[in-house]
Amino acid sequence: MVPLNHYLVLSGLLFAIGTAGVFLRRNLITVLLSIEIMLNAVNLTFVAVGRYLNTVDGQIITFFVMTVAAAEAAVGLALVIALFRHRETLNPDAFTSLKW
């Protein structure tokens, strides 16, 4: 079996890719997708370390992370729809009404 640190490096890379998406993209839907990539990278770490320690707790916390991700996606996409209705754009730089 591939050792633990391969899994950890893989999830670190996936997390960095997700962060790059949040930094670089100017489209709210792609930003939400990048957040999903980051959550998945963390899930992979939980499952790999849980397997390493021979406990099911890693999978249980992954279950909770998935639930929170589903709730986050639902509310986030509802916000995107509401914002699009007001401004007719998905560019996050267009939403600056609350900027001081």
Binding site: L10, V56, V75, A78
Partner: protein, 172 residues
């Protein structure tokens, strides 16, 4: 055998995640993210976590991505608009370059930190059967983590009501 499977799945996950970030069309991004989630489900199978792999396919690739697809089709914005020049110099090409450098820096840091953990060989043998047992996961979920489990149901209810309220057309 499992070595090759790991590297194939890892390659698919990284390449499709990079393409998700690189695509201009959000529809293609969603499709590629489904491929990435499939590869991660394969990695969960390699880690003796079949329950998590199935949940990954059903909840992520099934439910959440269908939600994203609905919104992408509903809004129908195939490409990204360029940022208006008046907003800020930080959001122009120079800011992009700073973002790329910061992301590469983060990747280097995380990979360096993770590879310092040590090799960490997985234990093999009869004791590992306890990790893949769905019965044990269910027992732990409904006894030790019962409060968190019930709190999750409240969270989903709140998210559902919130989504309906936010996306509702306001009456005038």
């Amino acid at each position: 055998m499992s070595y090759y499977a790991f590297y194939v799945f890892a390659f698919i996950a990284i390449v499709s995640s990079l393409l998700v970030v690189g695509q201009k069309n959000p529809m293609h991004s969603v499709m590629l993210l489904i491929a990435s989630f499939g590869a991660l489900a394969g990695l969960y199978v390699l880690l003796d976590a079949p329950f998590t792999a199935v949940t990954q396919i059903i909840v992520y690739a099934g439910a959440i991505m269908v939600l994203f697809l609905f919104v992408v089709m509903l809004l129908n914005v195939p490409r990204e608009e360029p940022t208006p020049a008046s907003v800020s110099a930080l959001l122009g090409p120079t800011g992009m370059r700073v973002g790329v450098v910061l992301s590469l820096l983060l990747a280097a840091e995380v990979v360096w930190a993770m590879s310092r953990v040590g090799v960490g060989v997985f234990s093999q043998g009869p004791g590992t059967a306890s990790v893949s047992s769905v019965a044990l996961i269910g027992r732990a979920l409904f006894t030790r983590h019962a409060f968190a489990f019930e709190a999750t149901s409240v969270l989903i209810l709140v998210a559902m009501v919130g989504a309906v309220v936010l996306a509702r057309r306001e009456q005038h």
